[in-house]
């Protein structure tokens, strides 16, 4: 093959690989999962019962919907003071994903398309989700040990027994 053609092909292949990596590495929601500097009120109040889910996991509309209905938060009353609610909402909205084109407000990260593509497209056997060490797909930290620091790199995933 001509050297020029070969170089072009190599470059094209490299570009594809890079793009594919960008998809699977998880930053495909337009922003990082969470900023380096986080709001302490968010960290403290939203991690009482579960991981403080990173703002980059959902669009702003979703966060607004969740934060305006805290007294009926997935079956429990998670209400906070007006000040805390405002502070947290502002943080979430500011660092939310910008990839959703419609104004849809998905309430569950685990039901979003990108999540299902990463976790439910066959790579992980269904039985894994039933393990006592994991229990539920929303238990990010079971496999993503750095989840509380916004680290979800595929390389760092360790699925527990």
């Amino acid at each position: 093959m001509h050297l020029f053609t070969r170089s072009l092909l190599t470059a094209a292949l490299a570009a594809c690989a890079l793009l594919a990596q960008a998809r699977t590495q998880g930053d495909n929601r337009g922003r990082p999962m969470q900023p380096a500097q986080v709001e302490t009120t968010w960290q403290t109040e939203c991690s009482g019962c579960h991981l403080a889910f990173p703002p980059g996991a959902l669009p702003a509309a979703a966060w607004q919907k969740i934060m305006s209905g805290l007294s009926q938060h997935f079956g429990t009353d998670a209400s906070l003071s007006p000040q805390q609610t405002t502070t947290i909402t502002d943080f979430l909205v500011k660092h939310a994903s910008n990839r959703w084109t419609s104004s849809s407000a998905p309430m569950r990260i685990t039901e979003t398309q990108w999540f299902r593509r990463q976790h439910m497209s066959g790579e992980i056997p269904q039985a894994v989700w039933q393990r006592a060490s994991i229990k539920t797909p929303s238990n990010c930290v079971a496999c993503h040990r750095g989840a509380d620091r916004g680290i979800f790199d595929e390389d760092a995933v360790r699925i527990p027994k």
């Binding site: 019962c49 579960h50 991981l51 429990t76 009353d77 998670a78 229990k135 539920t136």
Partner: protein, 133 residues
């Protein structure tokens, strides 16, 4: 030993046990319980233990997340998140922050009982927690 030192030591001997019994949060519940019921005498750790293990209308008990002993680490029944032990004898930070205690009673009483806890309930619960060695 000088009389002054003896006097000082004696005062401490009296004051320290009293200080140990004083617990601002428990005291605030005592006041509230007295208001609810003038015949109120004091809380019961035994009643607190019964309350702790009782299963409510949502098939949940305090013990469902906090395990059968407040000295253990627990787990959230739905999310599996680890919960630090409740007993102050193991986790001294517990029951020192009124706002924290109020917040969690508000949430978890609704989860377990389906309604708010009375001052009597809360006081018995805290008395039980304090009694677990």
């Amino acid at each position: 030993m000088t009389p002054r030192t003896i006097g000082l030591l004696a005062s401490l001997a009296i004051a320290l046990p009293l200080a140990a019994n004083a617990h601002p949060i428990l005291d605030s519940y005592r006041a509230a319980a007295k208001q609810d019921n003038p015949a109120f005498k004091d809380f019961s750790a035994d009643a607190g233990r019964t309350f702790y293990t009782a299963v409510g209308p949502n098939q949940l008990a305090c013990a469902s997340c906090h395990t059968d002993s407040p000295k253990n680490s627990g787990r959230h029944a739905k999310t599996n998140k680890p919960i630090a032990p409740m007993a102050p004898s193991v986790n001294p930070k517990r029951f020192t922050d009124q706002a924290q205690v109020d917040k969690w009673f508000k949430r978890n009483c609704h989860d377990v009982l389906g309604h708010e806890c009375s001052a009597q309930d809360k006081g018995n619960f805290v008395a039980y927690m304090l009694s677990v060695q």
